[in-house]
């Protein structure tokens, strides 16, 4: 039995059609020690009802955070839930306090899903070996051969290397704690609204003492089956954030 607690965070916006796919992909995991946080961000569909149904479906191993009128966009939504993760774990487990170096955060976007029953097990194994950030290969629903993730050579600054930590993104909470939150904000001090993947991961990849890429396809990125329109509509904004984040570099 691993000492690590796996917290999966799912930021949602109008994701009701897909949440059941995520739930099923978690329920089939060989590593069963996980908590799922579903965090809604002002959805206008029935994401809330579906999330409540799924909390029951996964036997209470999930927490649902409804919208509260404050549109966060994915990055602020995720960061808020990471900061809540300790309390959520304490609520779920009776026992000694779990320290942040034993908490693994994984992100599954509301419109994606895991696609490998051993995904969590493989990732936890890497943390057992000392990694502080682990990402895997992924596939696209439209093309199983499509995988943007890959190896990030040792020492190289992730800001100067092409993007290779797309999905499945996981990291230890104590690594996240070291990141100055200014890294998540734009030149005007506002939280990034798009392109959150690089804004979230680049600072941690930069700080990591032991980063690991797993060349096992664990994650399915849904581009057609769930939310094609939204993903294509935001491509331009995502690239603008990416340009800025990479040009600015790491903020101590």
């Amino acid at each position: 039995m691993s000492d690590f607690k796996f917290v999966i965070i799912t930021p949602c916006f109008n994701a009701s059609k897909n949440l059941d796919n995520i739930a099923n992909s978690l329920l089939e995991q060989t590593h069963e020690d996980w908590i799922w946080i579903i965090s809604d961000d002002e959805s206008t569909d029935d994401t809330g009802e579906e999330a409540i149904r799924l909390v029951n479906k996964v036997n209470g191993r999930a927490c649902y955070f409804p919208s509260n009128g404050d549109k966060k966009f994915a990055l602020k939504n995720i960061v808020t839930r990471i900061e809540d993760a300790g309390d959520i774990i304490d609520d779920q487990y009776n026992g000694p306090k779990i320290t942040d170096d034993k908490v693994i955060i994984g992100v599954i976007d509301g419109d994606d899903q895991l696609c490998n029953p051993k995904a969590l097990e493989l990732v936890v194994n890497e943390y057992e070996r000392g990694s502080d950030i682990v990402w895997t290969a992924h596939k696209w629903d439209v093309n199983p051969e499509m995988n943007v993730s890959g190896l990030l050579p040792d020492k190289i600054s992730p800001y100067h290397y092409h993007w290779c930590a797309s999905h499945f993104r996981t990291f230890r909470k104590d690594l996240f704690n070291k990141v100055n939150k200014e890294n998540f904000k734009d030149a005007y001090g506002e939280w990034f609204k798009r392109g959150y993947d690089q804004a979230l991961m680049l600072p941690m990849l930069y700080l990591s003492g032991n980063r690991k890429y797993l060349d096992e396809v664990c994650y399915q990125y849904n581009i057609i089956s769930v939310s094609m329109d939204r993903k294509f509509d935001t491509t331009s904004e995502q690239l603008n954030v990416v340009k800025f984040v990479r040009a600015r570099g790491f903020i101590e």
Binding site: P153, H162, W163, A187, E237, K243, A247
Partner: protein, 642 residues
């Protein structure tokens, strides 16, 4: 774009048609009234007659590549183009400013999806065919598109969804001239007695649906008159004395004039669903004033849109970077001041100045809303700053919000005479071009001589495309043992325009071509003539980096020596070997040494200074004189630095 253009026009024959300079708009159609008086031709004529600008009517078959090139600065309107050489469409879409008046469904090779199905037995798949994609490019590149009816527009949006989100489409309906409204008034005022008959157009054209109209009359017990070939005035008179009109076209008719004419003349109008405008608010009313006023304003809706397109001036964000500009003696204020007049905003990213530059920029920004100042501190001249010069530019660029970007360095000044030229060149920039190189006048020494030892263009005017950033191109990126990224020796300054995801260099267009480079390499005097032509015709940047040579040598001592060595992964130790100007370390170089060096550099002429300067090599012949005076804004700085 004058003599140096993006298309090879060398094999063109003389044009058959001359468009007068005075014509501001070229109106293209297969036919014009006089040759054929169909609905499209009558509507076109109503537009042409109501134009606030001089219009030249050009038949589609007469459009040639040369005609397009010669008249690239005019505004073009394309309506029915069945006789246009389809091979010209890519050039039209890429290079011309134009609107489309769409009478049917040109995304389909039959100009009608229903006709397509009748002919081939399958649903129209043209939008995804090569033909449809070409038409999509043609529609996408138009400044505006005018439709005859809302339903027609919807069907076209289904084929080309990008048109729906572009907000450049307007429904103008069929168009009528002033004489028509006068005639309708006269006929209506007569209050002539009407018979009990319905008019049916007995056109032999299958699409007009004469048979169906007759069938409708018979099934509904309507007495009817078959009419065809009447003079237009007689036809209107006939309508004004008839009870109604029956129109049952076989295929979509986007906005048939006869239905409108009958409506205005008080007829009971019976239409089927193929009359696409029949349920529109302006038409589906008993208030004839509403119908009339809507139609009366049709040409204005069109020309207001065209005038907006003609007067459109793209917005440009300028961006630059700064670091201890005061201490370095750059003309940085002149530089920023030279781009402020034509820019929507000027973004400056300061790299951590400690000489007061940043504070002065902030103070300036408080008084000048267009100036947006940010700071991103860099540990310059160290391992941490190997690629920072490009990254600072990338950050500044990422903060630009306009359709176009203009990049300028703190030692460069834009000429005040070229401000309108820059906006104009942006407006007419071919749509397949994202990066345009512009002439750069690089002074060498205070005599006013200009370098001829380097290529005189730089990537400066760009579309603000989301994938474009600054940095080291992929093939020149290297990684040292410490995992630090650096640039191949002297192959790039690390500031190229590249793709943000792949780091691949991005293609550019330029006024400067192989012929010009041949002149530069083989004949300085011919090159001088060429460069004078180029700087007179194109917006030009004036670069003062090597104007005051002593200042430049000092800037190597204080900044650039270490920064270049860092960029190229060389030692930054202060040694005689690392000092490109002197055979001793910088710590031993005096002001007298620098003054002597500057004098020598003036004498031996221009060179690229990344390696030790060989004072025995005489490049003094590699300089030319530019007749055009430098920007006025930099006069004071030049005097101070002379």
């Amino acid at each position: 774009m004058s003599d140096y253009n993006f298309v090879d026009f060398s094999n063109m024959t003389a044009p058959q048609v001359e468009i007068p300079d005075s014509a501001k708009v070229v109106f293209v159609s297969d036919y014009f009234v006089g040759e054929y008086s169909g609905g499209a031709e009558l509507s076109n004529q109503a537009l042409i007659d109501s134009s606030p600008l001089e219009v030249f009517s050009l038949k589609s078959k007469d459009v040639t590549m040369e005609l397009l090139q010669r008249n690239q600065t005019k505004f073009w309107v394309f309506s029915n183009i069945g006789e246009l050489d389809i091979n010209l469409l890519p050039s039209v879409a890429t290079n011309m400013e134009y609107s489309i008046v769409e009478y049917d469904f040109k995304f389909c090779k039959y100009r009608s999806p229903r006709k397509h199905k009748d002919a081939e037995g399958v649903e129209c798949d043209c939008p995804t065919s090569d033909f449809g994609k070409l038409m999509g490019f043609y529609f996408n590149s138009a400044r505006s598109v005018y439709f005859m009816s809302e339903k027609q527009a919807e069907y076209v949006y289904e084929a080309f969804p990008f048109l729906r989100v572009d907000a450049k489409c307007t429904v103008i309906s069929s168009l009528f001239d002033q004489d028509f409204f006068k005639t309708v008034n006269v006929l209506n005022s007569k209050e002539a007695e009407r018979n009990d008959k319905y008019v049916v157009l007995n056109s032999p054209s299958w699409i007009k649906g004469a048979e169906d109209s007759i069938k409708y009359c018979e099934e509904n017990g309507l007495d009817y008159d078959l009419v065809f070939g009447l003079d237009y005035g007689k036809f209107l008179e006939k309508l004004s004395t008839s009870k109604g009109v029956v129109m049952m076209p076989k295929d979509w008719d986007t906005c048939p004039r006869m239905a409108i004419e009958a409506k205005l003349l008080g007829c009971d109008v019976r239409l089927n669903d193929n009359v696409l405008h029949k349920d529109e608010e302006w038409f589906n009313t008993d208030d004839m004033n509403e119908v009339t006023s809507y139609l009366y304003m049709g040409p204005s809706r069109f020309w207001n849109g065209v005038m907006h397109d003609i007067n459109y001036a793209p917005e440009v964000s300028s961006y630059t970077t700064s670091y201890n500009c005061k201490k370095s003696g750059y003309p940085w204020k002149e530089s920023i001041g030279s781009v402020l007049p034509f820019s929507k905003e000027v973004v400056v990213v300061d790299g951590g100045s400690d000489d007061g530059t940043y504070e002065e920029l902030q103070e300036w920004a408080e008084a000048e809303p267009k100036l947006k100042v940010f700071q991103n501190k860099v540990n310059w001249g160290t391992n941490e700053s190997r690629i920072s010069d490009g990254q600072q530019k990338a950050m500044a660029r990422s903060l630009c919000t306009s359709e176009f970007c203009f990049q300028i360095d703190a030692d460069e000044v834009f000429h005040e005479d070229d401000q309108h030229k820059l906006i104009d060149i942006a407006k007419h920039m071919p749509r397949n071009v994202d990066i345009l190189c512009l002439p750069v006048v690089e002074y060498w020494g205070t005599s006013g001589k200009v370098r001829a030892d380097i290529i005189p263009h730089k990537e400066r005017l760009t579309r603000n495309t989301p994938n474009m950033t600054h940095g080291i191109p992929r093939q020149l990126r290297q990684i040292n043992e410490a995992g630090e990224t650096y640039c191949d020796w002297a192959k790039s300054d690390g500031c190229n325009l590249i793709d943000v995801n792949t780091f691949d260099p991005l293609p550019h267009a330029s006024f400067y071509d192989g012929r010009a480079e041949g002149l530069r390499q083989n004949s300085v005097s011919d090159y001088e003539q060429y460069l004078n032509w180029a700087t007179s015709n194109y917006p030009t940047i004036y670069h003062f980096s090597w104007f005051n040579l002593a200042r430049k040598v000092r800037s190597f001592r204080d900044f650039w020596q270490n920064q270049w060595n860092s960029t190229f992964n060389k030692s930054t130790d202060d040694t005689a070997e690392n000092n490109i100007f002197f055979d001793k370390p910088w710590k031993d170089v005096s002001e007298e040494d620098i003054a002597e060096c500057a004098t020598k550099l003036t004498c031996i002429g221009p060179r690229v200074c990344h390696e030790k300067v060989d004072y025995e090599v005489d490049n003094s012949a590699q300089m030319v004189t530019i007749q055009k005076q430098p920007p006025k804004v930099v006069d004071g700085w030049m005097k101070e630095n002379s």
